[in-house]
């Protein structure tokens, strides 16, 4: 029999892991198409704010989540415009997006803090299961369909995709925006289901950890499920163990562990290296 505490931990890890999973899946698609988006933290916090504000105003948490997706998508398209169309530095553009998202959510969210959310979603809801389904669907799409082949090729060798008449720009826009939609929902989950309220900075670094999960999952949507569960468990434990260990030390844990996992899996990831064209703007030959 599974002991009670283990079951609780697993269920709670699943709950905390859900936003990590959604955001990581989005980042995996963006990076598979060759675009790093470091703005996940910013897209998530915008999602969290808009989900809460809309859910509170309409009384419908699901509409809140749709608004969160839209906010994430709009933020991501800004990054796509700079990184793909203007061929700017993707790393810095993503950082700028993170700053902008945190700033905007902080400014717009003033006055929304401390308001409880009526009819919030439960912590374990269809959304969590949908995350697992989404991972399976995105995995199938990536590895077993023509669309997936095009996405992977765009990240590995965009010139080839261009040769067969598919627009690199279009593929990259689609993937980056998909990443934004998912990151938005991830943030929305935090504010309408996990902790039904709005607090400035409530994503607390989850966006960065989602990016790390994408990396050590080897950009594989199914492996990201394990990563999200693992970090979900760590986040849960960092709340649970506060009776024995100082909360600040516990809250360091997921971040320290990220470095540890990235270092430990660095060697084994050589088989599953980053997409070749990751971070490199694509310049078509003809001008």
């Amino acid at each position: 029999m599974i002991p009670d505490w283990l079951l609780t931990t697993l269920v709670r890890a699943f709950a905390v892991g859900t936003p990590l999973l959604w955001a990581a899946l989005g980042e995996i698609y963006a990076e598979r198409s060759g675009v790093v988006n470091l703005g996940v933290e910013g897209m998530m916090i915008l999602g969290a704010f808009f989900a809460f504000a809309v859910a509170h105003t309409t009384g419908e948490p699901v509409i809140g989540l749709l608004a969160a997706a839209a906010a994430g998508g709009v933020a991501a398209s800004l990054h796509a415009f700079v990184a793909v169309t203007l061929r700017g530095n993707q790393y810095v553009s993503g950082l700028a997006l993170a700053m902008l998202g945190l700033g905007l959510a902080g400014v717009l969210g003033r006055g929304w803090e401390g308001i409880p959310l009526e009819n919030a979603l439960p912590e374990i809801s269809p959304l969590n299961v949908m995350g697992l389904l989404l991972a399976a669907v995105l995995w199938f799409l990536l590895y077993h369909t023509r669309v997936g082949l095009i996405i992977r090729s765009t990240g590995e060798f965009p010139a080839a995709v261009n040769t067969v008449g598919t627009s690199v720009t279009l593929v990259r826009y689609a993937c980056v925006i998909l990443g934004g939609l998912l990151a938005g929902v991830a943030g929305g989950f935090l504010s309408v289901a996990y902790r039904p309220s709005w607090t400035e900075g409530m994503t607390g670094g989850m966006g960065w950890i989602a990016i790390a999960i994408a990396i050590f999952a080897g950009w594989d949507p199914l492996k990201a499920v394990w990563g999200a569960l693992l970090f979900g468990a760590l986040f849960f434990l960092s709340f649970r163990l506060q009776t024995w260990i100082a909360p600040e030390i516990l809250r360091m844990m997921p971040f320290a562990f990220t470095i540890l996992v990235l270092a430990a899996t660095a060697r084994s990831r050589h088989g599953q290296a980053a997409p070749d064209a990751l971070g490199i703007p694509y310049e078509s030959e003809q001008r």
Partner: protein
């Protein structure tokens, strides 16, 4: 080459300084126009808002505050320039700053030193603690190819919670009720301020000296040469016998140490105690990235760009006090400025010329029709360039 009214748009792989300046200023102005939307959303006329910011920051009483904010920004920014020139994406200045503050606090509160030795020791300890905080990401990147953007960011969060732990736990001060902070430093550990302002002149002098010193280091020394070669072409650097680990580690330790000094300057110059991390640094480590980027890799230019970012920061106070909006508005300014700067880099390899001046293509030595090689931005050698660091 294209025609735009009376102007010709030509390619120019080596943009002139004035063109770079024009594009940068244009990007900043465009970002501020975009930020106007935020004021509008709050029901404040953006023109009124910017007028209030200008009159609120650029007056004799408030102007020193710009320089007070510029000190940590300059220290973080010049350091970041060195790391970026080595193509090392140090996003961890925020954490390195905090660790510098921790080092200085440890000396100020616990070291049994004679008063005159206190400040120099604090500066050294701050530099060292910051620099050490940068070692792990550098080693992981060079030995195991672990992406440094992620690791330096994670180190920021670790430093943040570490400071939180110190002030709530072992270093919690006697007189702190409600709010957590350490005991106040002894007077001998306070950095002297320029009369009537909150600008500590030691921090300011260190920043300016560091800018000059690092400009010299990058341009004239063997180490600077190695950093530049490593940044422009890692394969060539290895071929030339440059040890990538030693060079990048050196660049990173300078970068992280400078951010550590910013931490010393904040706790010893302003607060005189270690307090909550979001009060020790108002995001100077992240804003330092903009200082470095706007300076296009030139440590001396960072003096100007740090003052500009100082202006943005001091506008945060004006926004808070006279417009009743959150200080966070500065994050929106910062994010938009950085975003527009990156976007506008597309314009750099072009230039505008009067069409009537001369027939195109007749200039000696340069054929405007020849597009620059794809690696032109890197070979331009003026600092933070496009990320060609694809692999991780």
């Amino acid at each position: 080459m294209r025609r735009l009214g009376p102007l010709l748009i030509e390619r120019d792989p080596v943009p002139s300084a004035s063109w770079v300046l024009l594009v940068s200023v244009g990007a900043v102005v465009a970002a501020l126009i975009a930020a106007a939307g935020v004021f509008w959303a709050f029901g404040i006329n953006p023109l009124t808002a910017y007028a209030a910011i200008l009159t609120g920051t650029l007056n004799t009483r408030a102007a020193p505050e710009i320089f007070r904010q510029a000190v940590p920004l300059l220290l973080c920014g010049v350091g970041l320039i060195v790391a970026f020139r080595a193509q090392f994406w140090n996003i961890g200045a925020e954490g390195q700053l905090l660790m510098g503050a921790v080092g200085a606090t440890a000396v100020a509160l616990f070291a049994p030193l004679p008063a005159p030795a206190l400040i120099p020791t604090m500066l050294a300890a701050g530099f060292l603690c910051g620099a050490l905080w940068g070692v792990l990401p550098a080693v992981l990147r060079l030995r195991l190819d672990v992406n440094e953007v992620i690791t330096t960011l994670m180190m920021n969060y670790i430093a943040l919670f570490f400071v939180g732990w110190l002030i709530h736990g072992p270093w919690k001060g006697q007189e702190s009720f409600g709010f957590a902070y350490t005991d106040t430093f002894p007077r001998a550990a306070w950095l002297p301020l320029i009369g009537g302002t909150r600008v500590n002149w030691i921090g300011l002098a260190l920043g300016v000296m560091l800018a000059g010193g690092l400009a010299f280091l990058l341009a004239r020394t063997r180490m600077g040469f190695e950093i530049r070669v490593l940044g422009q072409n890692a394969a060539a650097a290895r071929y030339a016998g440059i040890d990538p680990l030693r060079t990048a580690l050196g660049a990173m330790m300078i970068s992280a140490g400078a951010a550590g000094l910013a931490g010393v300057s904040e706790v010893a110059g302003i607060h005189h105690k270690l307090l909550a991390p979001d009060q020790v640094s108002l995001g100077y480590g992240y804003a330092g990235i903009i200082v470095a980027w706007l300076a296009r890799g030139s440590p001396l230019a960072a003096i100007l760009t740090a003052v500009f970012l100082g202006l943005i920061y001091s506008s945060g106070d004006v926004v808070k006090v006279s417009l009743q909006m959150p200080f966070r508005v500065t994050d929106i300014f910062n994010g938009l400025i950085l975003m527009f700067l990156i976007g506008s880099e597309r314009l750099l390899p072009y230039r505008l010329r009067w069409a009537a001046e001369r027939p195109a293509g007749s200039q000696a030595g340069r054929d405007p029709m020849v597009p620059p090689r794809p690696d032109t931005p890197a070979s331009r050698g003026d600092g933070p360039v496009r990320g060609q660091e694809g692999g991780r």
